[in-house]
Subunit: 255 residues, 2 copies
């Protein structure tokens, strides 16, 4: 099987023109087939504030009422996505920006209301990997915005990490997939005070040991649990790294 | 050659949820291959106003400074485009929203500054029709936002009529193209006071006669000149009609 690298970058990198340019240059140098998944939360929050719309977050997730859905559709599907696509085309990467509605590649369902009503937030139900795989095989580089749709006419806000993970799992039937999550550190750290103490390889038993010892904690736990789930679903490896290391492939490799 | 219908609708229709739903339903019933091209100027002006950005128009064209480019990228490429795509997917039309940057399908050049500086407005230079034709042949329905790019990293604002015309001319090599322009009247009128006085068929000699007689005037002249130019470039026919007539194929047919 051919190799495919799926890189997920957060909002901070893609929202600053200088770091975006560097990222796109590094991304373009990755050998083989590629997919880029982006966030854009900071820009969404900034636009919402200018429009007098309050950003409400619960457990790190954005409450998405109708006005906020319009904001994220504009920012994720329009501004951030198209600036990335234009930036990649400028360096001869044949990018194609997509939301889940485009080509119906990712369908979701509005999250049921429990004690929290997240609003127009979608939980992924179906990934149409065949159409993505066909485009990728032709050299097209999909640029995935964190938006899905319910196939009943509504766009839905969906976490970019989730989009990357679901796309990776579905594309694992077609490619040998490496899933790269970028965050602000060089990798998963053995000592939070020491930015150089990167755990190079992390197996599931080591992960459990580190969690029990309190070395790995907080938001890193669900991120890593999702990574192990992706591996179980056929993804070859997951790398957690800093955006400036995507080309050199340093960071924490989860096996 | 297979038939392809390219429908261009203005902002007014696609920005109102009820008229949009009707339009998409009518559009979905057109037999054969289809492309939808949309505007969104009213929404762009409304968003700009909310953000304290003044909309300046010269000769009906929007002056697009950097802030306004961000607005139109959000509104045309995000909000309007993705709502149309999601709406079409809901009725089983496999829509794919595109700006000219996506797949590098339409490259333009920033309009040179003469006595007027239009800012980030692009004049179309190259249409990559092969990639569009291939998608269309597979049943994909491209939904084209009025944005192009310069392949140097910048998106550029481009008139939706122009996008439709340029796409039609380029796709005429692959399909028997009917180009449908929707506007607020049922067609080109013989008598501006009588909405039913639609000219059914308009040849170039008849057009010249009506212009000389003052029957056709104003903004309709460049619209029709562009239509005749499209015919010269291989487009089979151009229809000027009202959005609610796209399925019945009534209106003025330009031959």
């Amino acid at each position: 099987m051919e190799k495919l690298t799926i890189v997920k970058v957060g909002g901070k990198i893609v929202e600053d023109p200088i770091s975006l340019k560097q990222l796109l240059s590094d991304f373009s140098k990755i050998a083989g087939y590629k997919v880029l998944v982006h966030g854009g939360g900071r820009s969404a929050t900034a636009l919402a504030a200018k429009l007098g719309i309050e950003s409400k977050m619960v457990n790190g997730r954005r409450i998405t009422d109708n006005d906020m859905l319009n904001v994220v559709t504009m920012v994720y599907g329009g501004l951030v996505n198209k600036q990335i696509v234009a930036g990649l085309q400028a360096i001869d990467v044949n990018a194609l920006g997509l939301t889940g509605a485009d080509l119906n590649y990712m369908r979701s369902k509005k999250r049921p209301v429990t004690d929290i009503d997240y609003g127009f937030v979608g939980d992924v139900k179906e990934v149409n990997a065949d159409i993505l795989a066909e485009l990728i095989s032709k050299g097209v580089v999909p640029v995935l915005a964190p938006l899905t749709h319910d196939k009943e006419g509504s766009l839905l806000n969906t976490n970019a990490d989730t989009i990357a993970g679901e796309a990776a799992k579905a594309l694992a039937k077609h490619f040998e997939v490496t899933l790269v999550y970028c965050f602000e550190k060089k990798g998963v750290l053995l000592n939070e005070q020491d930015d150089e103490s990167v755990i190079q390889e992390l197996t599931h038993s080591l992960f459990e040991k580190y969690v029990a010892e309190g070395i790995i904690q907080g938001g890193m736990i669900p991120k890593l649990e999702n990574s192990f789930e992706a591996l179980k679903s056929g993804v070859k490896q997951v790398v957690i790294t800093r955006a400036d290391q995507i080309y050199s492939a340093k960071g924490t490799t989860i096996l």
